[in-house]
């Protein structure tokens, strides 16, 4: 389509048959004064075109850090990728020269952040911030770029886009601001969209609108969507597959319906039991006991063992291997069978 696209398609190692996005054994640590926080400890993920992968997990388990590592926007220092691969169509982005990597960002892999108010620059109009990408990546004139910005705002259904393009972020409501954020991520027609809790900062009614918009745009464009969220309800309605993270690792990965029907990892099971369900009204909720581990001091063996009701001696001593329990299902638990109840 354009030079940048052609350039990216010709990157050494591009493999048309490879998955759209594939993360292997990703490790990220933060070296701070309080010690080394191992935020991501061997994450494996895979995303195909048109697919929605939901990434679930407690606060602090490394979801955002994983997303930032994929984008290549970790705060370095203190954050460092210490091991692993992030392959986009077979090309390992971590080994790419910075200039090429920068072109992948926004052009091929884009990101929507949680809090649009702080994620948008307060001192520039949204039009400027949208047009900026066309000017920098496509070499458009200010005027053309602004025209494109208006079109984008239209696409995310911001009323009166032509006028609002000159407004500043703080002049928009929360939902509208998140729409701007989405427009910004979609500006250069990326193939992968990473949405990091895109609705957490919004009211419930607005949440649904934004999720619908995202799902719709994803289908229109056939993008791969990596949706980071806490919201199990959202996951059930929009996701194809789920990856559950604990202490910087993906502990279970499965198609969405399988996981709801029969979790294979003790942590997933506990997580599902901790959400309120209408059919179980009146019964006490099972809250997961204990706290998530400190990332400076992750428990040995299976990181979940201090909180796990299934745990036995071996869980403390040996990290569980990843069991493939169905063609599309992986779970890392020593007692998969017991959890599954077979």
């Amino acid at each position: 389509m354009t030079d940048i696209r052609a350039h990216l398609d010709a990157l050494p190692g591009v493999d048309p048959r490879a998955p759209l996005l594939e993360v292997r054994d990703l490790h990220v640590e933060f070296r701070t004064r309080d010690g080394v926080a191992r935020a991501v400890n061997g994450v494996d993920l895979r995303l195909n075109p048109g697919e929605t992968l939901a990434v679930l997990g407690e606060s602090g388990c490394g979801k955002s850090v994983t997303a930032q590592a994929i984008m290549g926007i970790l705060d370095t220092p203190p954050g460092h990728v210490t091991r692993g691969e992030v392959r986009y169509r077979g090309v390992d982005l971590l080994r790419l020269p910075e200039a090429d990597r920068r072109k992948v960002r926004a052009n091929r892999i884009a990101m929507v952040f949680q809090d649009a108010l702080s994620a948008l620059n307060p001192v520039y109009t949204v039009g400027f911030q949208l047009a900026e990408q066309f000017r920098m990546h496509r070499g458009m004139s200010r005027k053309d770029a602004k025209q494109r910005a208006v079109e984008l705002l239209d696409q995310v259904r911001i009323p009166d886009a032509r006028r609002r393009v000159d407004d500043y972020p703080h002049q928009f409501s929360g939902g509208m601001r998140q729409r701007v954020m989405i427009a910004m991520a979609l500006a250069l027609d990326p193939e992968v969209l990473i949405a990091d809790e895109p609705t957490t900062a919004l009211d419930v009614t607005v949440q649904a609108q934004i999720m619908n918009l995202l799902a719709e745009l994803q289908q229109q464009r056939g993008m791969g969507l990596m949706l980071i969220t806490h919201d199990m309800g959202v996951v059930a309605t929009v996701a194809d597959r789920i990856a559950v993270m604990y202490a910087g690792k993906v502990v279970e990965e499965a198609p969405v319906h399988d996981i709801y029907a029969r979790p294979a990892h003790a942590y997933t099971q506990a997580l599902l039991e901790s959400i309120p369900r209408l059919d179980l009204k009146g019964r006490p909720l099972n809250v997961i006991r204990g706290l998530p581990p400190a990332l400076t001091d992750i428990p040995s063996g299976c990181a979940f063992h201090p909180r796990c009701t299934y745990a036995r001696e071996i869980c403390r001593l040996e990290p569980p291997p990843a069991y493939r329990i169905a063609p599309q299902r992986i779970a890392s638990c020593h007692f998969v069978r017991e959890v599954l109840g077979v």
Partner: protein
């Protein structure tokens, strides 16, 4: 924006009366013989006494006196010095020199502060950052009464790099040393504020967004971080002008530059009270106006203020 301007203007009017009242009160409240207070140790002639009495309406109550003084200020009548020269005339001569010196100092200070501040904010804790921190500390520790004479001694007299004094129509080169001295008054704070603000803004979420948009680091910093980081620095400039005015008194005195500060210093040394009060009043007004402008500039830079 319009309402913001109106509000600021109203505030300024209030502050104007407040500030001039304080200056007036500092000088004249509770004095037995106000005229002698004006003249200090110096004997006053009868004709001087007559002029001063007419000027300050000393027979009236304090507030009436103040009112006469303020209306004088507002109509451009700043009074006469004890030597009989109208202060407005002296000011007209002295202003251009001082304005040039101050602008020069501001430009030098701003360039150094923003340049070095951004660099050390980006690499906090690095060698450059540590070096600038130590330097700013040293600069902060040098009151202008130390810096100006020493700079003149070392660079003007001993090394002979710059002319040790400057004339009324000094060229930029002649003004360079005094401007540098004057600039150091504000450079350290400006630099530190820039540095902190850059370091803070670098961690802001919108910077992460900018990087996610695939922008080059130069643009991320030059466009996104810089504009946000300059906002607190701009507000400083208003305060800085006050420091510069104070500093100009010493600097112009040391380097013999016949500007406003020089005249003020001479007024102090010759016990010329009316001159001192007149000059200080005008400087206070100028300071007010500049601060108003700075505030408007601030609003232009930060849309969140503008639309409040």
């Amino acid at each position: 924006m319009f309402r913001y301007i109106v509000r600021r203007l109203l505030q300024m009017v209030l502050t104007f009366f407040g500030a001039t009242f304080i200056v007036y009160a500092l000088m004249f409240a509770n004095v037995d013989d106000p005229l002698q207070a004006l003249a200090g140790d110096r004997p006053i002639t009868d004709s001087q006494r007559a002029v001063l009495e007419a000027r300050y309406h000393l027979d009236d109550g304090f507030f009436t006196q103040y009112w006469h003084y303020v209306s004088g200020l507002l109509t451009g009548d700043f009074g006469q010095s004890l030597t009989g020269r109208p202060i407005s005339e002296m000011l007209a001569q002295a202003w251009p020199v001082t304005v040039r010196l101050a602008l020069f100092a501001i430009v030098i200070a701003a360039v150094i502060a923003v340049g070095a501040g951004v660099l050390s904010g980006i690499r906090r804790g690095g060698a450059f950052d540590t070096a600038t921190l130590v330097l700013t500390l040293l600069v902060l520790a040098m009151p202008i009464v130390v810096l100006a004479p020493l700079a003149q001694l070392v660079f003007g007299i001993q090394l002979g790099w710059f002319p040790p004094t400057a004339t009324r129509d000094a060229n930029l080169y002649e003004l360079l040393l005094p401007a540098l001295v004057l600039g150091t008054l504000v450079v350290a704070t400006e630099l530190r504020v820039t540095r902190t603000s850059v370091a803070e803004n670098l961690r802001a979420d919108y910077v992460r967004t900018a990087r996610a948009k695939g922008l080059a680091p130069k643009r991320v910093i030059g466009v996104h971080v810089l504009r946000n980081s300059l906002i607190p620095v701009i507000t400083l400039i208003g305060v800085d002008i006050g420091a510069l005015m104070s500093g100009a008194v010493v600097t112009e005195g040391v380097f013999n530059i016949p500007g406003v500060g020089f005249n003020l210093l001479r007024g102090i040394r010759t016990e010329d009270g009316p001159l001192v009060v007149g000059f200080v009043s005008v400087l206070v007004i100028v300071f007010l106006v500049i601060n108003l402008i700075v505030d408007l500039l601030y609003a232009a830079l930060d849309p969140r203020i503008r639309y409040e």
